[in-house]
């Protein structure tokens, strides 16, 4: 952040301060296994395996070349929970029935013979989510959480899932599909849709310096009031865990290395060792820190009807059709509100009334689906 300070000071004299740069670092990346995910007691655990790839390789490729093998969660009482491959490199371990008063570790056996594990760890308690609420101001809707770590939790981490229902702009009377007019008075098949998103990375907050192990009114998410997510009905689920101090340090460093380097006063980057080690070759370095923890969750719904500020007036999208060079009209997928013709007319006058684009009546055009979550609280379809 502070790297901008120079620009601030001398913006009038210095044209710019930060430029894209390619260090042209070539060659192979270090051959390191990446293990990400936590053992969630009382929930399903997701463990992802991957490799470090060269810096200049395609990011899709990075995702698509996972190692193969098995992933198992073991406890010190002899129980094993075998992971199931959900997609390449990603294992789901059902630890929802795992007991809390045991020590756990992760064991990874790759098909190339290498074996990795984490040290035995006790289960970290979960904080209590005491509040999950929102406030609005002129431009944004801000979502806040409050957590109580009790006596034992000083390091908090959470991520969230967002689900929202939204609708198309209009329910039309006349559609133009595949070269034909289709009269559908009050058409609403694609009026309601649902979409979802997960937080990309966890939030990390510590109460180390605070008088109590409580996080109060942390504004962890801000949504512009013109965002489609809060156009109708919005839901967010917060999932919070407690971390040990070493795990917190590792995760913070991981985030710092990727997002907060290069400034004048930012620390010089330096890799930390995780808690995954290679059993078959102790000198082999592994990326990743696997915590053993419980997780608290809380969901709220926000009726955003009165919060939403549409970025445009839907009516502004309507248009009078313009013929192309051949005198034809390209109206495929378009619609007409309040058809001016009777149902008996075969050829309505398409040029003297306003038409609208398909995306105004088909909510799927905005990225969502018609798949409604089973727990959704209304009857929209």
């Amino acid at each position: 952040m502070k790297k901008y300070i120079f620009c601030i000071l001398f913006a009038f004299a210095v044209t710019a301060c930060i430029y894209p740069y390619d260090a042209e670092i070539s060659g192979e990346a270090p051959d390191r296994l990446v293990v990400s995910g936590d053992i969630l007691i009382g929930d399903k655990s997701r463990i992802d395996l991957g490799y470090v790839m060269p810096l200049n390789s395609n990011t899709d490729l990075v995702k698509k070349t996972p190692p193969t093998g098995t992933v198992t969660v073991e406890n010190d009482q002899g129980l094993q929970f075998r992971g199931v491959l959900s997609r390449p490199g990603s294992f789901i371990v059902d630890t929802s029935e795992a007991q809390e008063d045991a020590n756990y570790r992760l064991v990874i056996k790759l098909t190339d013979g290498r074996e990795f594990n984490t040290p035995w760890s006790a289960v970290n308690e979960a904080p209590v989510i005491t509040d999950l609420s929102y406030k609005t101001d002129e431009d944004n809707l801000r979502i806040y959480c409050s957590l109580d770590g009790g006596d034992s939790i000083q390091n908090f981490t959470w991520d969230y899932e967002e689900v929202w229902e939204y609708h198309a702009y209009f329910k039309p009377d006349l559609l133009y599909v595949d070269g034909k007019y289709e009269i559908r008075i009050g058409f609403s098949d694609y009026y309601y849709c649902w979409n979802s998103r997960n937080s990309l990375e966890p939030t990390l907050v510590s109460s180390e310096a605070l008088s109590e192990n409580r996080i109060e009114e942390n504004n962890f998410l801000t949504i512009p009031r013109s965002d489609t997510r809060i156009s109708y009905l919005y839901s967010i689920k917060l999932k919070a865990s407690g971390l040990t101090a070493p795990a917190m340090a590792y995760m913070r460093n991981l985030k710092t290395l990727s997002d907060d380097t290069g400034g004048l006063f930012t620390p010089t980057p330096s890799e930390m060792r995780g808690n995954v080690s290679c059993v078959t070759n102790p000198d082999e370095q592994v990326v990743g820190y696997v915590s053993v923890c419980k997780r608290a969750a809380k969901r709220i719904f926000i009726d955003a009807t009165y919060v939403y500020k549409p970025p445009i007036k839907p009516e502004s999208l309507l248009f009078y059709p313009e013929p192309d060079e051949d005198g034809n009209y390209d109206l495929d997928g378009c619609f007409m509100l309040n058809s001016p013709v009777s149902c008996d007319d075969d050829e309505p006058d398409s040029t003297n009334v306003k038409w609208g684009p398909k995306r105004c009546v088909d909510c799927r055009a905005w990225g969502g689906t018609k798949t409604k979550p089973a727990w959704w609280p209304n009857d929209d379809e």
Partner: protein, 1007 residues
Amino acid sequence: MQRLVTVLLILLGTVCSAQSPVYRGRVIPDYDFSFNGHYFWYTPEFRPGTLCYNGTVYQDVNMNVNSHTQEVLVKQTQAEPPVALDGNLLPWFEQDGIYYVNLRLAGVEAAPEGFFQVLYDGQQTCYCQRRKLFARDPGNHDGVRGIGYNDPNYREDVISYFHQQDNYFAIRKGKFKKIHPGKRKRASLMADYLPEQANVVTDTVRFVSSAGKPVQGKAPEDLPAGWFATESPSATRQALLDALEQDKLIANYRNKTYEIGTVRVSEGPVKVSGTVRDVATGEVLGGVLVSDAAERIFSYTGADGTYVLTLPLGDNVLKFREYTKEDMDIRVIVKDAGVLDVVMREKVTALKSAYVSANSMAEHRRTAMGLEEINSSTVTHIPSVFGEGDVLKAVLTLPGVKSVGEASSGFNVRGGSADQNLILFNGGTIYNPSHLFGIFSAFNTDIVDGIELYKSSIPVEYGGRISSVLDISSRDGNPERIRGSVGLGLLTSHIALDGPIIKNKTTFVLGGRTTYSDWLLKRLPADSGYSGGKASFSDVNLGVTHHFDDRNSLKLTGYWSRDGFSFRGDTTFRYSNVDAALKWNHKWGEGNNLDVTAGYDRYSNTLEDNSPANAIGAYSLATLIQQGFTRATAKLKTGNHNITFGGDAVFYALDPGTLSPFGERSKVVPSQLAREMGVEPSVYAGDLWQPVNSPFSIDAGIRYSSFLVLSPFKYYGSPEFRIGSKYTPLPNLSVKAGFNTMTQYIHLISNTSAISPIDSWRLCGADIKPQYGYQAAGGVYWTVFGNALDISLEGYYKRSYNYLDYKSGAVLVMNDHLADDLVTTTGRAYGVELMLRKQTGRLTGWVSYTWSRAFLKEMEDRGVETINGGDWYNAPFDKPHDFKLVGNYKFTHRYSLSVNVDYSTGRPVTVPVGQYYYGDALRLLFSERNAHRIPDYFRLDLALNIEPGHYLKALTHMSATIGCYNVTGRKNPYSVFYTTNGGKVVQGYMVSVFATQVPYLSLNLKF
């Protein structure tokens, strides 16, 4: 200027006359450079005349007038060299029927100094003063008539000549007024005064010769009654010369040989001491080289202007050299120990010697190596960003001095870290020497007098850091009159005021600087994204010096600075330096000196984080260093020995972290790390053994430094050795070697490349050990081309131990167990520095190339956690190739062009070498520590300096600098970094602080 040229170098006061100097010298030619025309009033020929000198009228004296210096010159015969008379004893003279008067001596205080022709028609009087101003004119061969412009034998393209300027004055209604130089008006006025000659006013000489003689018994009414009377004892030319030889008069130093001591003692050598002052201001001059004729025996004047030399008995010549002053050579006959005070004048006209040979040959005189000296005038001629003369940036142009970036606060000397440099300002320690994160240095060049950087041989009186010492001193105030200066730059302005509180006893100097960047930022448009930012700094310097007598003086200095800056209002940094010191200087015996200093230093910084997203966690984090110190250093000179001894003690109280809630909603618990306290007492003694006429000299010393941690109690102590030697087989060739050991008891805790405002300092204790190190160095120094070019080659090897680096993921703030997050490293640095320095002529400057390396290695084996596997790794400031060029070319006295070139290898950085998905976010894997480098650094700066004109009697003098920083507009990277843009796409970026040309204009006004 009149004052400069007429007073010249008068040996000060009664001391000299008490020495009963004889007078048998000769005038040294004033001008050692080629010029066209001449500087005499009419003709170079010496003609007979009559003059009144020191109350006696002498007739038939061979004489002439130097119109440039306004001096009357006399000769015994035409073949002999002329002798200059003291204008303060010469009220009038007459030659060829023309009368000349010194109006100042006639009580006309408003008149310029010098001599005036009397233009008198028997009723009214006016006066003409002819001045010959030195001028230079490049390429113009069609110049003014009558001064030899088209001399075919003149080889230089730049024509130098004396430009004639006649000014007319009259006294009307009791006021001395200049008659306007407009020809028409002057002619009119002359016609009014002398109507019968109105048509020939352009030839005033002939006119005066016939009509300007005073009427017998009726002197011009402007002059005192009997002004030209000859009742005074009348004498001949020979009588004058006899009088001069008997030295009944105070005369120009250049004409004299001084006796030191009255009765010749049987054995030498003896001590000669004295004080050197500026003739115009009366200020003492530090750093003046005083040497004998062979330059085997020499000394530098201290900050109080005093020097001591041990000279053999008999005839000798004392040379006085200083950058900005005219070279001065004084003939002496040493009979016994004595005092010789001198004054030096500023170099104002002799362009060829604008930067004279003060430091030329200096390396052959001193035993110490690795000592760099810069004076404030050099600093102001080095182009710097935004035109603000910058002490630290000037230091960075020296070989062996590097920084991690062009806007970083600290600097690195010969492979040492930034915290290993002791930065002293008037004896007080400056912990953060920069403003605005390193863009400006914390020192006001209006106030700074001398800058000394010790990068190899460190005198025994300095200690506490293991790499270098940067000693900066402020100047004293003018003892005669109030002076001041005001400077305006693009972002900053500064003001300085100095003068007497009690004339010639107590002086003060006061300076201040501030910036208006804050004001500018507030006016940036909101959509620029910068309008919420704040950045400002200020500093104030105060110095008061009181001279009780010739042997005792007391100097009080104070310094205060503050910085504050924030980014869009959510994170604010503040830091402040406060220093106060009181220094008593006492001299006794022959050149013995005692300095006793006591002072207090304070450095505080604060970080306030009040991000609106986290009002509950808003906090203020502060650190504080306070130290009190006392130091007593005595310097004795006995025979060939220059002995230094003394002791010092520093008391530290550090508050390494105080956390407080910020804002009403904050739930941050106030907490404070335990205060660290310690005392660092040291004693030291050293001897510079420098036999007269011997090519060898040795400087050896020992310093015993110790450190007491007060809670919990812990004691450290170690001897430090300082040894230097010099062998000078030829006057212009020296070979030196030196060895130093140093110890440091305070550490800067940082995991950033540059000194950051949030870094904290920690004292060593039970779990943090002192840093110590040694340096071995050797060098060859060769002066060639008639002392015009100094060539030096120095090599060094350094080791350091217990330098603190940090573990990966270390938490360095508010950490009760800080030592657990730190690692101790050993350092290794070596290098070779080649430097060519030219200090005379129109082109001055230096060019240097340094090849050096600096490495660190963790001292402890922590298995896989060991930094870079326990191997040596590049120190953050390891920049192997370093080329620097600093040059100044003077076209004329007023105009000069400065150039600065800086090239260095890019500094080491840790960069990502791989990428991976961690969960759903893209992450980066970084290389071993400092395994890669940012691109090389190159910068060219140019500046045109315009100095004040010659007219030094003007009330104000304006100088200006027009320049451009980074002329080529190269985007030099400060750092490179990669982000994943919130875990999505890897993108590399480069931060460039000054990514384009930065033009600037700065104005300085002196009054």
